[in-house]
């Protein structure tokens, strides 16, 4: 399982094809949420790990693979270092608090404050998330375009005038196959599929609209499986149609110009309304209901048996927007809105579905920055930095900590070493092409060396570290990540560094992933017996 997930980690990851054994559709992906759901295991420990990671992903979207790889290597290292599991668990807990405390500090070397005045760092953050999934097959300009769009969509969902309670809007994603990625776009408001040859003609904006959540198909689906008895000669179908037409008449009387239904509308009613100049949209789908309610202020009507109350009507501006071969109905309110629509285009279905997943993830990650406006250095630099820091700290406080944790100094150091090695192994697994992973001995950043580069060409081969903040220079000392090196305290970066980081990770997601990984590993280590009920 570790090998499987490890090989999916990072922007140069290998992909996995997921499909079921009866010839279902094939999903090509390297996303943790899809992968983990696909893995089914009869072993309870695997299910346990899977469950806790999936829970993390559902809350934070990002860093699922980081958490799983870290958790699995912690377990592996623990098995290797021949210590009592109690000791390891306690040391792990201690070191975790050390890490989180360090990350929360203002002057932490791997933390970057996000500047909301310029979109640059936000775009960098979005881009790191987007480019981490190679299934999307994006070129440089394409991924830049998508990251810009993601940030633009995010900014549109942040309300401008802040009432007492801030409520973020929604981004609705519409995938479109067969167009170039660069044709993707973001619009404020909502775009809906339209029936063909629609003409707005002489409709004046804003239009009054009504929204139904009940099915207007002319059936009695609300009844469920109950039985009804009908007298002969009574035609239930035509009676419902009459009821529907009654509804249509009322709506027309109230000068409604846009008639939207979540489900199916009976063709007779559709025909009647269209003939009277109403735009009819059916089969909206549940996912668009909430944004539409927010956008228009309409209340969804859940029955067709009463008259529609006046308060249920909403108002909206409407325009027609051609997009590719399709025409879309563009709804936008009079004032500002926090609802926006993102149209994603890609050349084929596989890439498009992954792109959609990634964009939703990016949106989530960007939202997390509102809670904590900072990010961590990406490209493995945070991991190596933390490892160096923990190693240094644990050497220094070994005399104080070991009695508190109830273990000998050697045990403490050994367990600490295991912890650091696990962190470093996460950074190492970013490289999939047999390249070597290095750490520099001043800033403790992560460097990768292609497998074919020789020692002399070190400076040429690795000009920048994983996150792009540190430049390589002659007097740096290097060490391979899987070898031993003398502990040192990582130097903080000079604030006047000319280089901006090119890869950033979500702070909130990563800190939580760190905690989830260590706690899950501890729980697994604590398990002694597995009792299985075979019945």
């Amino acid at each position: 399982m570790k090998e499987l997930l490890k090989s999916s980690y990072g922007p140069t990851a290998r992909l996995k094809q997921v499909h079921n054994n009866i010839g279902g559709a094939v999903v090509t992906t390297s996303t943790s949420s899809v992968l983990l759901q696909a893995i089914s295991s009869s072993h309870p420990i695997v299910s346990l790990i899977k469950g806790s990671i999936l829970n993390h992903v559902s809350r934070f979207s990002d860093c699922g693979l980081f958490a799983s790889v870290f958790c699995l290597s912690l377990i592996e290292e623990a098995g290797r270092c021949d210590l009592s599991q109690n000791v390891i668990i306690r040391v792990n807990k201690h070191l975790l608090s050390l890490c989180t405390a360090h990350l929360q500090q203002e002057d932490c070397g791997c933390k970057v404050q996000l500047d909301f005045c310029s979109s640059q760092s936000l775009i960098t953050l979005a881009r790191s998330v987007i480019s981490s999934k190679p299934t999307c097959v994006l070129s440089e300009p394409e991924s830049a375009h998508i990251s810009r769009l993601a940030v633009q969509a995010f900014l549109l969902t942040v309300p401008c005038n802040i009432p007492d309670k801030v409520r973020l809007g929604r981004t609705v994603t519409i995938p479109m196959e067969g167009h170039s990625v660069l044709e993707s776009a973001v619009f404020p408001g909502l775009l809906l599929d339209t029936p063909e040859n629609i003409s707005l003609g002489n409709l004046c904006s804003p239009l009054r609209m009504v929204l139904f959540s009940a099915s207007l198909a002319g059936d009695l689906s609300e009844l469920g499986d109950g039985r009804i008895e009908v007298h002969q000669g009574v035609d239930t179908d035509s009676q419902i149609v009459d009821q529907l037409l009654e509804l249509g008449k009322q709506v027309l009387k109230d000068e409604v110009k846009l008639f939207v239904c979540q489900k199916v509308i009976h063709p007779v009613l559709q025909h009647y309304l269209r003939c009277n100049g109403v735009i009819v949209i059916e089969r909206l789908g549940i996912s668009l209901m909430e944004p539409l309610i927010q956008l228009t202020g309409a209340q969804p009507v859940a029955t067709l048996h009463t008259t529609v109350p006046w308060e249920a009507y909403g108002e909206v501006h409407v325009s027609v927007r051609p997009f590719g071969s399709k025409t879309k109905l563009h709804l936008h309110p009079a004032g500002k809105t926090t609802i926006c629509t993102m149209i994603l285009c890609h050349r084929n279905e596989t890439m498009l579905s992954e792109l959609k997943l990634v964009c939703q993830k990016t949106e989530h990650v960007l939202r997390l920055t509102l809670r904590e406006p900072c990010a961590l250095l990406g490209g493995g630099c945070t991991e190596t930095h933390l490892a160096a820091y923990v190693r240094h700290q644990s050497k220094n406080d070994v005399s104080e900590s070991s009695p508190v944790l109830g273990c000998s100094q050697t045990e403490y150091l050994l367990a600490g070493e295991a912890f650091c090695r696990s962190l470093e192994s996460v950074a190492t697994s970013l490289e999939h092409d047999d390249g070597a992973s290095l750490i520099d001995l001043t800033h403790a950043h992560h460097w990768t060396l292609p497998s074919d580069a020789t020692e002399e060409h070190l400076e040429d081969a690795a000009a920048l570290c994983g996150c792009g903040v540190v430049q390589s220079c002659q007097n740096k000392k290097w060490s391979y990540l899987n070898t031993e090196y003398a502990e040192f305290s990582p130097e903080p970066l000079l604030t006047a560094s000319p280089l901006q980081p090119t890869v950033l990770d979500s702070f909130t997601a990563k800190v939580n992933a760190l905690e989830v990984a260590v706690e899950t590993a501890n729980l697994v280590l604590d398990v002694r017996y597995v009792i299985q009920d075979v019945n």
Binding site: N20, V26, V137, V264
Partner: protein, 621 residues
């Protein structure tokens, strides 16, 4: 099917599968295609297929890679109707290139960067060397010399100066090649409506026919008919392909294929009787989008499972619900004086009988675009249920004509009617005929491929030198870049460039393989022979640096030297200028590479399922 190629377990299995799959269509690329039988072992059914898309469709690949391929090819075919073979073949060729690179120890990351760079080079070449319509029109003007001198100079064209060479060969070729039909069409149809910058559609069509001259002839005829009817409205050289229809008739010889204005539909015996009554008079028409039967309900309607009928008194004389419904519908139709009903869905037998009795012609399974067009030209509004029909939904002025009685050719009687509106509805039907029933599908595919090629050419307003010309240029450019990298490499000594050069070289090999396969398929070259010619051509390219202006002439020369590239039959000596679609080819190449890169990066297949857990690592590298 996949077992045909030995899969070496030490290699990337996914790429091998891709390459094996593309090997299946090796004999189906290019203008000369071989028919294949695909047989279902379990049921014993078999189909005759010709185009690459149909091969993949009928093979129904079950493995993950196969499904990915099918998904891509299907997407491409739906949009372009041509170029699927090129896509699949190159996906195979480039997957072999990737395999080779892996074998030489190049990392996946390097392969991906180098290949993306390679495709950029290729697409760039396509853009740079595409022939715009303006250029084509200019070339044509050269040919507009008086006929007599043209003919004389054709014989001497070999000795002529390079500049005139191309134009003259073109004109000569037209004299020899054009069928009587083409000449006629040109004189009476297109000459009046030609745009100054617009080259002759017939010439374009001919150079795009790629061996399907008959199908292309039909496509041109249909396109011109569409253009003529729409000319009053818009002066747009692009025709509306959605108004083109096909009608398949088996039992007639292939030469009977023709283009007819209006919409040709096949009718059964009963319907034909009604048609004879209503023919040749303006009719009222109703359009129905659903089925015409009592039990039909629209999509999304759930009927009640627990409905029970309670009878208060037993009345045995009451007729069945269906009879009641049919009576109601027929009465309504008679009231509205509707004489023709077109439905997109099915029609119950009872309705057909009743309608025929009242001389109402009912046609089922009509294409929805036909409904739309007829609706917009007659003012009829399509409705879902027959009971919905009102005065305002009924259109007026549709003509039904008996087009041909086909009963004598088949045992069961069959009549074809032409439904058209007086005010030129703008529909054009292409009747595809064949004595062999199994061949109809292939012929229809051929027609659509030609029609779409023409359509995209007019849409792009540019063409790509065909017959391997574009590929050759790309190979040349790729090899130049590879060479450049190698030279730079030996100076600086860094390894990254070396890899790039190697991968680009391998990609070029994939393209060469494609050209060679096309040449072999013509049947006049052995594989070795074809390769020699290609490499000879390439060395010529390398010797003198080609510039854009010189290029066209070079390609046309090359074609004369080895007519094997072209689709012309050997007895017709003067080579034809052959062109390809720009956007279709670019898109096919890009999709092919996307496919290869996706598969290249995949290392495992996770099989989930209802049964036991099954999880296997595919790649053993």
């Amino acid at each position: 099917m996949l077992e045909g190629v030995v899969i070496n377990s030490r290699q990337h299995v996914g790429l091998q599968k891709l390459s094996a799959l593309s090997g299946r269509i090796r004999s189906s690329v290019g203008p000369f295609k071989n028919y294949k039988f695909i047989q279902d072992e379990s049921s014993g059914d078999s189909v005759l297929v010709c185009s690459c898309f149909r091969i993949i469709e009928n093979l129904e690949p079950t493995c993950a890679v196969g499904q990915l391929v099918y998904e891509t090819v299907r997407g491409h075919h739906k949009q372009y109707h041509t170029g699927s073979g090129c896509l699949l073949f190159l996906a195979g060729g480039w997957s072999r290139a990737a395999l080779d690179s892996l074998r030489r120890g190049i990392s996946v990351k390097h392969i991906i960067t180098a290949m993306s760079e390679g495709i950029d080079i290729c697409l760039d070449v396509c853009k740079k060397f595409s022939v715009s319509f303006k250029d084509l029109a200019v070339m044509e003007k050269c040919t507009a010399a008086p006929g007599g001198t043209k003919k004389a100079s054709t014989d001497a064209s070999i000795e002529m100066a390079n500049f005139h060479d191309k134009c003259l060969s073109k004109s000569g070729q037209r004299k020899v090649k054009l069928s009587r039909h083409f000449c006629e069409a040109k004189s009476d149809m297109l000459s009046t409506v030609r745009h100054p910058d617009q080259p002759d559609m017939i010439v374009i069509a001919e150079s795009l026919s790629h061996g399907c001259e008959k199908a292309m002839k039909l496509a041109v005829e249909a396109a011109q008919m569409l253009l003529k009817t729409n000319q009053q409205r818009i002066r747009d050289p692009l025709f509306d392909i959605s108004k083109m229809l096909t009608c398949l008739v088996s039992g007639l010889p292939e030469d009977y294929a023709c283009v007819v204005e209006g919409c040709i539909l096949l009718l059964s015996d009963e319907q034909a009787a009604a048609a004879h009554v209503v023919k040749q008079q303006p009719l009222k028409v109703a359009l129905i989008t659903g089925d015409l039967s009592q039990t039909y309900r629209h999509l999304g309607f759930k009927s009640l499972p627990g409905e029970q009928c309670v009878c208060e008194d037993l009345d045995l004389s009451v007729s069945s619900k269906e009879d009641e419904w049919v009576d109601k519908v027929v009465k309504l139709l008679l009231n509205l004086e509707v004489k023709l009903i077109l439905t997109a869905g099915l029609v119950s037998q009872k309705v057909i009988q009743h309608c025929c009795r009242h001389q109402i012609l009912v046609v089922e399974k009509v294409n929805s675009s036909v409904l739309k067009t007829i609706g917009s030209s007659t003012g009829a509004i399509p409705v879902n249920y027959a009971t919905q029909l009102t005065e305002s939904c009924v259109g007026d002025g549709v003509n039904v004509e008996i087009w041909r009685d086909l009963s004598s050719y088949e045992r069961k009687s069959l009549t074809a009617v032409n439904i058209s509106t007086g005010r030129s509805s703008g529909l054009v039907t292409v009747v595809v005929t064949s004595c062999v029933h199994g061949k109809l599908q292939a012929l229809e595919d051929q027609f659509w491929a030609c029609a779409y090629r023409l359509y995209h050419a007019l849409k792009d307003r540019a063409l790509l030198p065909g017959a391997g010309g574009a590929e050759l240029l790309c190979v040349h450019q790729l090899q130049k870049q590879a060479e450049h990298d190698r030279v730079k490499d030996s100076k600086t000594g860094s390894a990254a460039n070396l890899y790039r050069g190697l991968v680009l070289q391998l990609m070029a090999d994939g393209l060469i393989d494609y050209i060679a396969a096309v040449m072999v398929n013509t049947g006049r070259f052995t594989a070795a022979n074809a390769r020699t010619i290609v490499s000879k051509q390439l060395t010529e390219f390398h010797r003198d640096e080609i510039s854009t202006e010189k290029f066209l002439q070079l390609v046309s020369q090359s074609k004369r030297e080895d007519a094997g590239f072209s689709a012309v039959k050997p007895d017709e000596a003067p080579a034809l200028n052959i062109y390809d679609n720009l956007s279709v080819k670019q898109e096919a190449w890009r999709k092919a590479l996307d496919l290869v890169l996706l598969v290249l990066q995949t290392d495992a297949e996770i099989i989930t399922g209802t049964g036991q857990k099954n999880e296997g690592n595919l790649m053993l590298l």
